[in-house]
Subunit: 230 residues, 2 copies
């Protein structure tokens, strides 16, 4: 059973909500999803900023489906909800939205718990093991996956860039949820969604972002990863 | 300064010692280094098994430089020493060899602290942060790097495979040592040695091996990583 023989579900009718849709990673993912024809709902702490972010997004070239915007609770109504907030606000935001993320809703955590000092980036310890496991603890009625950690906001938001040349490592304990997240990644031109293990192995995938930042700094690039032999 | 503009040192005259040279990863790396024309010294707990491993290696096709073998202390006489022992014996082996690994010797740790249960692989906590940082603590007079975590022993040891298609993430706090390790990786056909940060960011690179094993299991492959945009 090789990669291309594993059938991914049809996710073209799903609505994807973005919590933290006004931040660079959230806006970048939203842009790529909207270019891929997915229906995107941008969430923000403020309804007005969420609506404004959707308006800004819809003015960018290549949008196949106009995005909607509102507050984070509004974005939680989507079929799949991506958490793209800064690590500092992660636990509080997720806990606050927990009442909206029930019924087996697919939640995709793409938050990287990183610190920075004069020697560069480093991974922060997380009591639950990872941001994704923290979300899973706070959202017992959701199906939490981890994905989209290594995408460069600079590449995602650049309209001139047609293809996002990397693999998205998707982690999760619910096979159906993971397959849907893989399929969403696969809608973006150039991306593949690759299943990369259970949620207990999410911590190192989040932390690897520190290494990619170190690579970016050394080589002046926007590094991502591809899985070889796949 | 892009990847190919960073000049790597000439390492063709260096001798590379392998601690744990009779294990699958150690033998595999030794084979690839010897095929690339590097002088390899295989170390083992037993002088006889180390010598036998070298004899076996030299019988494989494509060897450019015959390997030597002996005990681990003998392998420590090489210019660069690769630690490729099982995690279980890591601390004890490194501590025992510390008197031989002084004078700024380059030591390359490629050990992955992993556990396995019925749900598959997972990363083990390490008090020092990573196997490589444990080695650095035990070897204050060596220049410890971390590298070669994601190479598949099955691919390395298969004489039919000409190219090892992956990037070796090299971590270290000593720039010159890291460059030499990158250059050694770059001698192997298909491999690139990519600087991926300071030693404090080695833990997630070691732990990522659990994800690659999960990928191998799901897709029936021998997964490695390539850094994109480089």
């Amino acid at each position: 059973m090789t990669y291309d023989q594993i059938e991914l579900p049809d996710v073209s009718a799903l609505r994807v909500g973005i919590i933290g849709g006004t931040g660079p990673q959230g806006r970048g993912l939203a842009y790529r999803f909207a270019r891929a024809g997915l229906r995107v709902v941008l969430g923000s702490r403020s309804t007005e900023r969420g609506a404004q972010a959707a308006e800004d997004l819809n003015a960018l070239p290549g949008i196949q489906q106009p995005a909607e915007g509102g507050d984070n609770a509004f974005a939680c109504q989507a079929d799949v909800v991506v958490i793209a907030v800064p690590w500092e606000g992660h636990a509080a935001t997720v806990a606050e939205l927990a009442p909206h993320l029930t019924g087996g809703k697919i939640v995709v955590d793409c938050v990287n718990p990183l610190g920075f000092d004069k020697q560069g980036p480093f991974s922060l310890p997380v009591a639950e093991g990872s941001a994704a496991e923290q979300a899973a603890t706070l959202l017992p009625e959701a199906r939490v996956c981890a994905a989209f950690h290594h995408v460069s906001a600079a590449l995602l938001t650049d309209p001139e860039i047609e293809k996002i040349d990397l693999d998205v490592l998707v982690l999760g304990d619910d096979r159906d949820a993971a397959l849907q997240v893989q399929a969403i990644a696969g809608k973006v031109d150039g991306m593949r969604g690759v299943f990369a293990g259970r949620l207990r192995n999410a911590g190192q995938v989040e932390a690897l972002t520190a290494n990619l930042i170190a690579i970016n700094k050394r080589y002046k690039v926007h590094a991502g990863v591809r899985v070889t032999d796949l």
